[in-house]
Structure formats: structure tokens, C-alpha cells
Symmetry: C2
Subunit: 201 residues, 2 copies
DNA sequence: TTAGTCATTGACTTTTAGTCAATAAAATGG
DNA sequence: CCATTTTATTGACTAAAAGTCAATGACTAA
């Protein structure tokens, strides 16, 4: 990377971290693009070099902390399905907490409409990673934890559905419960029931 | 009701039905307030006699078809929990279909933020009716279908959570599956598992 | 050295949500 | 039946901010 590319990368990073801070403080609707650019010491136009719409920056924020989960799950190769999923859920909710309720709200508002997801971000690497979830389930079939004929796609969708439901409820409650407690208590209990018909024995 | 009140009620109704039609056709963001008022043969200002914000009309649309469910469930007094809930779920999804994906999207965008729900609409009578759901569960305890110590509030929340998850997934998929099929197949299967620990025997 | 690239700028355009003083029609009360 | 008040309606107007774009100049590459 040359000077220019590094500087451009830094500008984008600055915009993203500044936006996260401001949105957490005041909410997405209460700040405008100039608030973000001024606080980042760049001009308004610069914002639109990196993001097509004001909302697009939220989608990038939600991807920020996603780097390490894949490696973590890979390291758990010998753990059983339950432990892997627990980890996956836990990390999902950690990211939800990291982003905060205001970012989560704006994120939901955008992902419920496929037209509002820019193509370069359409790899399903959000709070969750759909492919990774399917890999976890495939491993469980290989290890004979789950029956051979388990429909992975369906099961993965059910889980994602649960996670979204939780997120929406969390936003509606205005953050009245702790996301991490919620996963550990409520969602773990649900997991048993969801998987029960698919377990071997 | 006098002449004036009747005329006012008609104006409001006209705005709501016109908005539903236009939003279904073009999406909420693609129409402006004047599109709605022109198609309703009233002036722009009239809109704001009935709705504080452009978005508020969506919240009222989502309440339109809600009249009869309470009566229907009351008539099912002798049916078991399962049948009542099935009916409740089915009606939920009927309303989702009636409103269409564009209205649902805009509805989600608003209810995830309590500050955006006008006080006069804050009685939880949306697609679902939280109090009605709790009543169904209470009846099941009285009939000894569910254990005495069942935590109704928690169970009701779990169910609402499922319904929201489904709605969000439906919006994300851009309507690729039929909501009614979805409830009947997927959600019914889930019900068993959710309730399993609470059933007597 | 120089031609070309591209990140950056900020004034400008455009769009539209929401306001409000004026109007007219209906209700109220004597 | 008339005078007064109330309120639904109007549409021109304001305010706010999202998004555009031609100009700039620092950096790259040959």
C-alpha cells in the first residue's frame, strides 16, 4: 500500500469510529453527515467517497469486530456442537453490545430491505456469519452428533431467526435487559429444544 | 357522532387506505406525503391533522384489521391451548400478508424504537396483542393444561420474539416465502418445543 | 520532469418533511 | 334565527439536510 492508499484507509477508519461514537451518544437520526465529517476533520464530500448513502456507514460499523470469530471456532475443532454454538451466540451478542442499541436499530432498518444493502457488503458477514454457522452444523454431522439427513439450511435459518427476534425485542425494550444474560439464559435453553429432534440417540 | 366528526373520520380512513395502497405499490420511501394527500383529494396540511409524522400512518395501518381476533378467541373458549395459539399465529400472519412487506418493513423500523411510538398507540395492539396472548396462557393454566408455576410473561415474550424473528426474516428474504405456509409448518413445530417443559404430564 | 490519478473540498442543488395563518363550514347557546 | 365559537381544511412557506460536482493539489508512475 502506498501513501495515498494508507491515508485513504485511515480516513475511512476515522469516519467509521467517529460515527460509532456519535451514533451511540445521540442516535442515528439526531446526527447528520456534517456532524460526522466535522468530528473527523474532513469535508462533507469526503463522506461520499467512502459511502454511497448516510446509512451505509452503519452497515460497515456492524462488521468492524468480526475478524476473529472464524479463527476462534476453528480452534474449537474438538469441542461439541453445543459448545461451538454457545460460543457463536455469545460472540454475536458481544458484538450487539459493542455496537450499541442505536447502531443495532439502524442496522435492522437496513438489512430488512435487500435493496438497501450495497453489493460489496452482500456477503452475509454481519453480526452473524451464515456460512460459518452452516460449517459448524456440517462438522456436527461429520462427528455424528447430528443425524445424517439433518437439513442444515433450515436449521441455520431457524437459529438466525431466533437471534433476530432477540435483537428486535432488545431494541423494543430500549435495552432493558443485558444481551449477554439474555443469550446465556434464554437462548441456550431454546437451543436444546431446537436441536432435540436432530440429535443422534 | 355529528356531521363534522363523521367527515373527519372518513378523511382519516381515506388517508389510511390510500397510504396502504401506495406503500404496497411503491414502498414507503418512494412516496411522499403529498402523493398520499393528492390521491386522497385533500391538502398536504390535512395529513398532519391526523398524524404527527409521516411514519405514524404506518402504525395505524398495522392496526386496521385487528378488530375481530379477540372475539374469535373468546368463541374458542373450549378449545385447547394448541388450537388457540395456532389460530393466533395464523391471524398474525394473515395481517402480515394483508399489510404487505413494505408496510411491515416500515412498521419494524418504528416499533424497534419506543420513542417513535406515539403515546395514543402505545397499547401494544399491533399485529399481535400482548394482553390477549397472556390471557390465552392464563386460561391454559386454569384448565390445567400448563403447570401452575408457568411464567406467563416470559413465555409470552418468547412467542412474540419468534413472531418478530419470522417477520424480519420474511422482510430480508424479500417475500420469498409465504408467511402463512411459514407459520403453519415452521412455527407450529416450534410451539411444541417451546411449551414442552410447561405441559402437565 | 511531467502527465495523469484520485482523495479532498465546500458551495450548491434538490427534495421533502413539517408549519402556520387564513378560511369556511359546522356546532353551540341564547 | 342570529352571533359566537370551534375545528377541519388549505396551500404557500420554512427549515433541514442529503447528496452532487467542478475545482484543487498532493501523490504516483513512467
Amino acid at each position: 500500500m502506498n501513501k495515498r492508499q494508507i491515508s485513504a484507509q485511515n480516513t475511512k477508519k476515522k469516519l467509521i469510529t467517529t460515527a460509532l461514537k456519535l451514533i451511540k451518544e445521540k442516535g442515528f437520526d439526531s446526527i447528520n453527515v456534517e456532524d460526522i465529517t466535522k468530528a473527523s476533520n474532513v469535508a462533507k464530500g469526503t463522506f461520499y467517497t467512502y459511502f454511497k448513502r448516510k446509512e451505509d456507514i452503519v452497515l460497515e460499523i456492524s462488521r468492524m469486530p468480526f475478524n476473529d470469530i472464524k479463527d476462534e471456532i476453528a480452534l474449537m475443532k474438538n469441542a461439541n456442537l453445543y459448545k461451538k454454538l454457545k460460543h457463536y451466540f455469545h460472540r454475536f451478542m458481544e458484538q450487539v453490545e459493542f455496537c450499541g442499541i442505536q447502531v443495532c436499530r439502524e442496522w435492522i432498518k437496513n438489512v430488512i430491505d435487500p435493496n438497501k444493502v450495497p453489493e460489496n457488503l452482500d456477503d452475509k458477514k454481519w453480526f452473524y456469519d451464515f456460512e460459518m454457522l452452516k460449517n459448524i452444523l456440517e462438522d456436527a454431522i461429520k462427528n455424528k452428533e447430528l443425524k445424517k439427513d439433518t437439513k442444515i439450511e433450515l436449521l441455520a435459518h431457524i437459529i438466525i431467526c431466533e437471534l433476530y427476534g432477540m435483537m428486535v425485542c432488545w431494541c423494543m425494550s430500549d435495552g432493558k435487559f443485558e444481551p449477554l444474560d439474555w443469550t446465556d439464559k434464554f437462548c441456550e435453553a431454546q437451543l436444546d429444544k431446537i436441536f432435540e429432534p436432530y440429535f443422534n440417540k
